[in-house]
């Protein structure tokens, strides 16, 4: 292996090295591509993370189809549908934020980011009321499952082992909600950086990869919603 001597580093070609270009990268394209690849790899592990839960869901559903059918009627379809719409809309605004950032429109970017954050908060608020109702009705995981008739929705009779359904419901929607919280925190940070003027037509990496993450969070919900609320 031989090493030819000095090729000049990126700043040597006459152009100034932009200050957002990190020390170990040669070109902006390399930095942007690396960040995107990193996020895709992270999402790959997320797929396996939620994938494991979906497998457990399938196993239990196949074992106890009647129990799942009855327990699923206790979930609020209207709240669930509203949340689905809210989340899909926030995905749209996240994509619009990236689009605006690419064009260097700082104010539009801020506006879209703000709407995305607001939608995410609405989602969590609705989720909070759903959880509250489940707690009131005693629809809780495992041995804590003690349904209180007056709070229940009319429908099929609940089986005594429905605790497993609510264990999965709380674990899966809870972990999803945790991802929403993380998304909100990161979006707020992105918003602050945007207001500070950190982003430009040339550099909008953070907006881009955060939106990528957000689309994934939405996609998980798109699977969770029918599995728990509809079928």
């Amino acid at each position: 292996m031989s090493t030819a001597t000095a090729t000049e580093h990126a700043s040597g070609d006459g152009r100034a090295r932009p200050k957002w270009l990190l020390h170990h990268f040669d070109t902006p394209a390399q930095q942007f591509g690396t960040a995107r690849l990193g996020m895709w790899l992270f999402l790959a592990q997320e797929v396996l993370f939620f994938g494991a839960l979906f497998v457990i869901y399938s196993v239990f559903r196949a074992s106890y189809p009647e129990m799942f059918k009855a327990a699923s009627q206790q979930l609020d379809k209207i709240m669930g549908t509203t949340n689905t719409v809210v989340l899909i809309f926030s995905s749209l605004t996240a994509a619009l934020a990236v689009n605006a950032a690419q064009k260097g429109k700082r104010h539009a970017t801020s506006l879209y980011l703000l709407v995305t954050i607001a939608c995410a908060c609405v989602f969590l608020a609705i989720k909070f009321f759903e959880y509250q109702h489940k707690f009131d009705a005693g629809l809780l995981p495992g041995p804590a499952f003690k349904p209180i008739d007056e709070h229940l929705v009319k429908g099929l009779d609940l089986k005594s082992n429905s605790g497993s359904f609510f264990a999965l419901y709380f674990m899966m929607t809870g972990l999803h909600a945790l991802h929403v919280v993380v998304g909100i925190v990161v979006f707020i940070w992105i918003l602050i950086r945007n207001l500070r003027g950190n982003f430009s037509k040339e550099y909008f990496t953070a907006v881009d990869i955060t939106a990528l993450y957000w689309h994934f969070v939405d996609l998980v919900w798109i699977f969770l919603f029918p599995l728990f609320y509809l079928i």
Binding site: M1, S2, T3, A4, T5, A6, T7, E8, H9, S11, R17, W20, L22, H23, H24, D26, Q30, G33, T34, L37, G38, L41, F42, A44, Q45, E46, L48, F49, G51, A52, L53, I56, V59, F60, S63, Y64, P141, G142, P143, A144, N161, G163, S164, A167, L168, M171
Partner: protein
């Protein structure tokens, strides 16, 4: 960028004539460094501490088994000792040992890069590892766990404090510890794949990648795809113990075999997280110390990837007697045999590389050769266990214990030590005493075989694993095994003393002490903060010994400018000399 950055921004701000050790001295310069070499060194110190701790548990176990009945500790303590030995060795040592410690130090240099793709994530992964390790220590202070490193449910998940029937030991902090350290492993995996894809120097094509880099790539695939499944499994286990979810406990409507499927869906591939990087190191060592381009370079590289992918399809071989459809067991058995193919490809290619090579038996090479020998035994005995009928007899016996120690110690630890000896002069800048190194190797190699070879016999005669007491006919073999563990322990002490001596008053290492043609030996020793004095441009492969001049073959590749000035093709019979 961020306030904690201590690595400067460009070449203009860093003096290429200072080494990474001298640049930014002081504790803060280390704790907040973004330099992959420093992060790797801190990882190395952490995993070596874990190795020592796991080793103490091992010695304790073997001492207890020296005689029938109680020898040193009671049965309760014994259960905790073997569980902690397993947890510490696997999750705190074997998983991060090669990728996060040695890989971190060497990979970017082998790629001609200034750093890994995400230096801050790299530092974060170190701190997550340390944070996770704190939970493990907390658990140990509170009595540790007695579940075995496998945490099988419902024993682990059913808490007597909540009316359960399982263990009352400190399970939750331990599973949380493993869960947290899993995130650190994922971050390392993400970092390495992005680094290998995006940070290679100009001219460093995929076909010129070092085999160690290929192996880390394969390892990273497993880290990213398998670790999250363990994370979710341990999260569910923790919640089950805490709240009684009813996922794994049959009394609550759960399925304990489901836990085993999930656990092994991670833990079989995890075996490849441990062994594949060791194979990568061995490939590099064999090329360097036999002065040959690895025979079947692409086959070795691709067999790493094949192992990574096949590893996901065979987890069921741990459940042959756990209650599974017999058709499923047949499929898992057949798939398990497939794993032998890429492993065999590697072993045959290494041997073909050695054939007519100019072999020098320096200390790193001794570890590489031990790896081939011991890993072959470990791999072949794995086939016994993959056979359905044979496994019914051998399952949960010392045969299994011996098998995986031949893979994990005979494989991973030998590879790790080979890499540590090989790269030690590069990243510390110090030479070590070769005679001590060879003596240490001799004790470790002998001690290891004395300890574990007899365990194959014990297991095939029916000695169950994890057992505190045994029948009188097993006593003699247990005693041999325990004496072996003392030899092994002494060997490690010797190596530890040798490395400490090297740090304290070792002679300064030259740029290329082994005369290797690989890229990491072309940069000064120890490397400057950005690894090279200026951006390297790669004009030939890491192993192109056949393109070398006679001088280079005999004197080693010292001057990076010499090697492409006078290049001569077809020199392939460099004889071992002086």
């Amino acid at each position: 960028m961020a306030a904690i950055t201590t690595a400067p921004g460009t070449y203009d701000e860093v003096d290429p004539n200072t080494s990474y050790l001298e640049n930014n001295k002081g504790l803060m310069g280390w704790l907040f460094t973004l330099d992959h070499k420093r992060i790797g060194v801190m990882y190395l110190i952490s995993v070596l501490m874990a190795f020592a701790l796991g080793g103490i548990f091992a010695l304790l176990l073997r001492a207890e088994l020296f005689t029938k009945g109680q020898t040193l500790i009671d049965a309760e303590t014994y259960n905790r000792a073997f569980s902690l030995h397993g947890v510490v060795m696997i999750f705190l040592f074997l998983i991060p040992a090669i990728p996060a410690a040695l890989g971190n130090i060497i990979l970017p240099i082998q790629l001609g890069a200034k750093d890994v793709a995400f230096p801050k994530l790299n530092l974060l992964s170190l701190y997550i590892y340390v944070f996770g390790a704190c939970f493990a220590v907390y658990s140990m202070i509170h009595g540790g766990v007695d579940t075995g490193w496998t945490f099988y449910t419902p024993y682990s998940s059913s808490d007597p404090a909540h009316g359960g029937v399982g263990t009352s030991s400190s399970v939750i902090p331990m599973t949380l510890s493993v869960l947290i350290m899993g995130f650190s492993s994922v971050l390392t995996g993400v970092n390495f794949i992005a680094t290998i894809h995006k940070m290679r120097a100009p001219g460093l094509t995929w076909r010129r990648l070092s085999l160690f880099a290929w192996s880390l790539y394969a390892t990273a695939i497993i880290q990213i795809l398998a670790t999250p499944v363990l994370a979710i499994t341990f999260l569910l286990l923790t919640m089950e113990r805490f709240l009684g979810l009813g996922i794994f406990d049959p009394r609550l409507g759960g399925d304990p075999v489901l836990y085993q499927h999930f656990f092994w869906f991670y833990s079989h591939p995890a075996v490849y997280i441990m062994i594949v990087p060791g194979m990568g190191i061995v490939s590099d060592l064999i090329a360097t110390f036999s002065r040959r381009e690895p025979f079947g370079y692409m086959a070795i590289a691709m067999s790493s990837i094949a192992l990574a992918l096949l590893g996901f399809l065979v987890w069921g071989h741990h459940l042959f007697v756990a209650g599974m459809s017999e058709y499923a067991t047949m499929v898992f058995s057949a798939l398990t045999f497939l794993v032998a193919i890429p492993s065999g490809v590697k072993v045959f290619n290494w041997i073909a590389t050695l054939y007519k090579g100019s072999i020098s038996l320096q200390s790193p090479m001794l570890w590489a050769l031990s790896f081939i020998f011991l890993f072959t035994i470990g791999g072949l005995t794995g086939l016994f266990l993959g056979m359905l009928a044979v496994d019914v007899h051998l399952h949960d016996t010392y045969f299994v214990v011996a098998h995986f120690h031949y893979v994990m110690v005979g494989g991973t630890v030998m590879g790790f030590l080979g890499g540590l000896h090989y790269w030690w002069p590069k990243f510390t800048g110090k030479l070590y005493n070769e005679s001590w190194a060879i003596a240490g190797w001799l004790f470790v190699f002998l001690g290891f075989n004395v300890t574990f070879l007899v365990q194959f016999v014990l297991g095939s005669r029916g000695m169950p694993r994890r057992s505190y007491d045994y029948l009188p006919q097993y006593e003699f073999l247990h005693q041999i095994s325990t004496v072996g563990s003392w030899i092994l322990g002494f060997g490690f002490l010797l190596l530890g003393a040798m490395f400490v001596r090297s740090l304290l008053n070792g002679r300064p290492a030259p740029r290329n002490p082994w005369g290797s043609a690989a890229l990491e030996w072309m940069t000064p020793t120890p490397p400057p903060p950005y690894n090279f004095v200026s951006d390297p441009v790669i004009t030939r492969g890491q192993y192109d010994y056949h393109l070398a001049t006679d001088d280079e073959l005999y004197e080693g590749f010292d001057d990076p400018l010499l090697s492409h000035k006078s290049r001569k093709g077809g020199v392939d019979e460099g004889k071992e000399d002086a």
